[in-house]
């Protein structure tokens, strides 16, 4: 017999070997973009600011002070410390209010995206794997869900009770899980045809085991990359809710309420609206840029690139 002697030399990675460490390769590819590094730096800076800003700046996000109202940002004439970005109509520090708003929005975005990711993907994998009528029913359910505009759902549910972070997150999850269900179902349909799933079945693995241990680990990472984009989208929804008056209630600052209040003073104190918006856009921009780069890296790798 020739093969009992172990020959363990590892062949050089071949082009055909497109399965290897997909996740790692996507990350490596994404990191090779300058944009990725830049966006990550901006994002981390903002996160640090939201965490430590309130400790460093000698002002309050909620305390009103008539004497300090309508102060412009430092770079404009009339601005003064500690109000780097000026104050609002009630004399509250805009930078601090923005940072607190950002922190809340970010928390809501991350938690809701995790929730919709788990819920949607669980349903999608199940539907795609089971197929048949289970699939038809679950997919029609996503159709139903997707044809109810988020805003209607949000106002109906949040509009009548006092909205809290928890109910906002619940509404966002309820409104957005179908996207994840559809995507993960689509990939599962293709994945379930693959030989490794057949192999697992032949070995005797149960359906649950196949879904959890085999399909999920190979399809979820690429979907998770794109979920970064959704964190930004959810933060925008949070702002819209605040703007319409169904977000987290005052005095806790949110971007929506800051902007909506600022519109009344647009002509004289434009910064109340514009400045927090720029900060939010910066945060969202860094997230979206990272998400965009990850998405491209994923497409590149999945299409067989190096």
């Amino acid at each position: 017999m020739t093969s009992s002697t172990a020959q363990a030399e590892i062949a050089p990675p071949s082009a055909a070997d497109n399965q290897r460490g997909v996740t790692r390769r996507i990350l490596a590819r994404a990191w090779s973009y300058t944009e990725m590094k830049l966006a990550a730096a901006v994002f981390l800076l903002l996160v640090a600011l939201t965490l430590f800003g309130p400790l460093l700046i000698d002002a309050s996000a909620t305390k009103m002070s008539v004497a300090d109202k309508f102060l412009p940002p430092l770079f404009m004439e009339g601005g003064r410390l500690p109000h780097f970005l000026g104050t609002d109509q009630l004399g509250r520090d805009l930078l601090l209010r923005s940072l607190v708003g950002l922190r809340n929005a970010f928390a809501i975005g991350v938690v809701s995206v995790i929730g919709m990711f788990i819920l949607g993907c669980a349903i999608g994998i199940y539907a795609g794997y089971r197929g048949g009528w289970v699939d038809v029913i679950l997919m029609r359910l996503t159709d139903v869900q997707m044809s109810i505009p988020v805003i209607i759902l949000a106002i109906t549910i949040l509009g009548m009770s006092r909205p809290t972070a928890v109910s906002i997150i619940a509404v966002l999850i309820l409104a957005s899980w179908p996207v994840y269900a559809r995507v993960s179902r689509g990939v599962t349909l293709a994945e379930r045809q693959k030989e490794y799933v057949r192999a697992a079945k032949i070995l005797g693995a149960s359906d649950l085991r196949i879904m959890v241990r085999h399909i999920a680990p190979s399809i979820l990472p690429p979907i998770a990359f794109v979920a970064v984009l959704d964190v930004a989208r959810m933060m925008i929804f949070e702002a819209i809710f605040g703007f319409i008056g169904i977000g987290i209630q005052p005095p806790t600052p949110t971007f929506g309420t800051i902007i909506s209040a600022g519109t009344q003073y647009l002509l004289n104190a434009w910064w109340i609206t514009i400045v927090p918006g720029v900060l939010l856009a910066l945060a969202l921009g860094s997230l979206n840029l990272m998400g965009g780069v990850l998405e491209r890296a994923r497409n590149h790798i999945l299409q067989g690139g190096e």
Binding site: M1, Q19, A199
Partner: protein
């Protein structure tokens, strides 16, 4: 090195001098082709042979100046019509491609836009290269050429989409596409590789005829010596980017000069001459008893409202396998082999019939019993890349069945897995590594180890070795043999590779359109088959030895009928060279013949040409296999 033979007079059509191609990557420059010199004469066929990875495809692309990053041409010239193609501006090169120089690749099914009918795409190309032709004339010319390559009902096929064409049909359509503009040179890169041997043989013959009719020179590239030698006038042997030998085809087969060529010739499997004694049938008890199983799928019918059509994938298959035996199932793609393997491995249930494993109907097993069955009864799949997941370590992958079945206490798993790994020839040091970078052969070993760790009694191998090269295949066959000796495993090989089945199987079933048409022991089947279909399969095997079944006598026309519309009577009659009137009326049953074989043919073995395998030559020269070109 022998000088390029001048089998045809006249000046060369294409001359390649000192051509080198390299791959540039971050880790440096790797040469792919080194100082290639070759000459293509008008109206001749130049064969290029080499193993996979030797640079054949890169060479074929370099001939049409179609090299893309990270590859780059580093030196040399490709002279055609007095010009160097490599120095030509892109527009002038584009004006040659598809007009004077045509190219066909190995990937027929993805070569055309999937959303546009095949005929329309050929029309688009013909009108691009010959704008003076009117639409009607162009259309007529294409339909005529489709007819000439023996595509049935070409006018209807003209409007059908690529996915409605089988691989063989598509390759014919692409030959039409290439030849319809009357090119001077056709470059064919491995065009028979994805096709069944029967279809490949048809395509070869077709190309040979057309090459004469159209006066085209052909550069024919392939990794199968048996195929190139059927068509080429001169041959070039490529080894790791170097040309190691060039000779006219007969001389190359008879007096190979370079060691590598000799090795290549020796590797072509022998079926009749000098084959080792096939294993004997087993006399032990029956482990697997397949009784008249049937499987039908329903597909939606686009041409009727709420209607379905039935695809009869497996139509009443019966056979038995005895303990310790090697049983083979062969047939063209689409004949129902994979469906049968899914039925056998209990992934799907048959619509009718039974599969008994040690006298228990596996379709009735549930829960614990099914799990117990799975343990003793394993299936190895074809694709070594997709059968193991990329995200778990090798050891974890092999341990998975132990965890599923809870056979071994957790702390002993590593020991068990390591033992199996060394048994199949994987170093246990790979235990914690990811499958990243494992070769196809090593992956297939992981696969095998994963099945073996359960200590199964029956292993079904569905094209398990097809993706591997000859050397690796031989090693794994040895391994299977050893395991059989050690553990008494029973194997069912499902394959389209006749040479492999010849080597390892004691009894063989031949499938056609979802049925077993012949079932005999190895020697009877290969030496004196009693079914016309089996003989046709055997006549098409690409070997270099002389064959007892002459291609001229048995070559099949067309392809198997659609399993949706199976013709009444004998289902093989649409392609059978021996069909007679009874065949259209009556469906032949599988009958026991005097030589002990089972055959489903009204001729019952009589009336087929006599065969004599005693006097066959181990290396057939061209004169023996085809008429010499004038």
């Amino acid at each position: 090195m022998a000088p390029q033979s001048m089998s045809k007079p006249g000046s060369p059509l294409m001359e390649v001098r000192d051509l080198s191609v390299a791959m540039r990557s971050e880790s440096g420059v790797r040469p792919i082709l080194n100082t290639i010199d070759l000459t293509v004469m008008p109206r001749s066929v130049l064969g290029i042979i080499g193993e996979s990875g030797s640079g054949k495809t890169v060479l074929s692309r370099a001939l049409v100046n179609w090299i893309k990053p990270p590859l780059a041409i580093t030196s040399g010239s490709v002279r055609y019509g007095g010009r160097d193609l490599l120095a030509l501006p892109e527009e002038e090169m584009a004006a040659l491609r598809g007009r004077e120089i045509a190219y066909i690749g190995a990937n027929p099914t993805s070569a055309l836009d999937p959303t546009v009918p095949v005929g329309h795409q050929i029309l688009e190309k013909l009108r691009a290269v010959a704008p003076q032709l009117s639409r009607q004339d162009a259309r007529k010319r294409i339909i005529d050429t489709l007819d000439a390559v023996r595509i049935p009902s070409p006018a209807k096929r003209f409007d059908e989409y690529p996915f409605q064409f089988s691989g063989g049909m598509m390759q014919r359509a692409l030959i039409v596409d290439a030849l319809v503009s009357n090119p001077k040179l056709l470059i064919a890169d491995n065009i028979t590789q994805p096709l069944d041997v029967t279809v490949a043989a048809q395509i070869l013959r077709l190309l040979r005829d057309l090459q004469k009719d159209f006066d085209t020179a052909v550069v024919f590239i392939s990794s199968a010596l048996g195929i190139v030698s059927e068509i080429a006038d001169d041959m070039i042997v490529l080894d790791r980017g170097h040309i190691v030998e060039r000779q006219p085809v007969n001389a190359l087969l008879e007096k190979p000069e370079h060691g590598y060529t000799r090795e290549l010739i020796a590797k072509v499997p022998k079926i009749w001459t000098g084959a080792a004694e096939p294993p004997a049938p087993s006399a032990q008890n029956v482990v697997l008893d397949v009784r008249d199983v049937e499987k039908t799928y329903e597909v939606r019918d686009r041409n009727a409202i709420f209607a379905h059509r039935k695809v009869q994938a497996v139509r009443g298959v019966s056979f038995t396998v005895r303990r310790g035996e090697n049983f083979g199932i062969i047939g063209e793609s689409g004949c129902g082999k994979s469906t049968l393997s899914r039925l056998l491995s209990c992934l799907e249930a048959p619509n009718r019939g039974q599969i008994l494993f040690e006298d228990r109907d596996i379709a009735t097993l549930r829960g614990k019993d099914l799990l117990a069955l799975r343990r003793r009864f394993q299936l190895l799949l074809q694709d070594p890349y997709n059968a193991i997941a990329a995200h778990s370590s090798i050891g974890r992958t092999i341990a998975e069945p132990l965890l599923i079945h809870g056979l071994v206490p957790r702390r002993e798993i590593r020991k068990r897995v390591s033992a199996v790994m060394s048994e199949v020839g994987l170093s246990p040091s790979l235990y914690d590594q990811l499958p990243v970078g494992l070769s196809a052969g090593q992956r297939q070993r992981v696969n095998i180890a994963r099945a073996l760790v359960l200590e199964p009694e029956l292993l079904i191998l569905d094209e398990t070795l097809s993706a591997l090269d000859q050397v690796e295949q031989a090693k794994l066959l040895d391994l299977f043999e050893t395991l059989q000796a050690r553990r008494g495993i029973t194997y069912v090989y499902i394959s389209h590779d006749l040479a492999m089945v010849r080597r390892v199987c004691a009894r063989i079933a031949v499938m056609y359109l979802g049925r077993v048409v012949e079932l005999s022991d190895n020697e009877t089947l290969f030496a004196s088959s009693s079914h016309p279909y089996t003989r046709a399969l055997l006549s098409a095997v690409p070997t270099v030895e002389e064959k007892p079944y002459k291609t001229e006598t048995y070559l099949l026309e067309g392809e198997p009928p659609d399993p949706i519309d199976i013709p009444p009577g004998c289902s093989f009659r649409t392609r059978c060279p021996f069909a007679f009137d009874r065949c259209a009326r009556e469906d032949p049953r599988l009958t026991l013949l005097s030589d002990g074989s089972l055959s489903a043919c009204h001729l019952e073995g009589s009336g087929l040409p006599a065969v004599d395998i005693a006097g066959l030559q181990p290396v057939a020269t061209v004169a023996q296999t085809r008429p010499v070109a004038p």
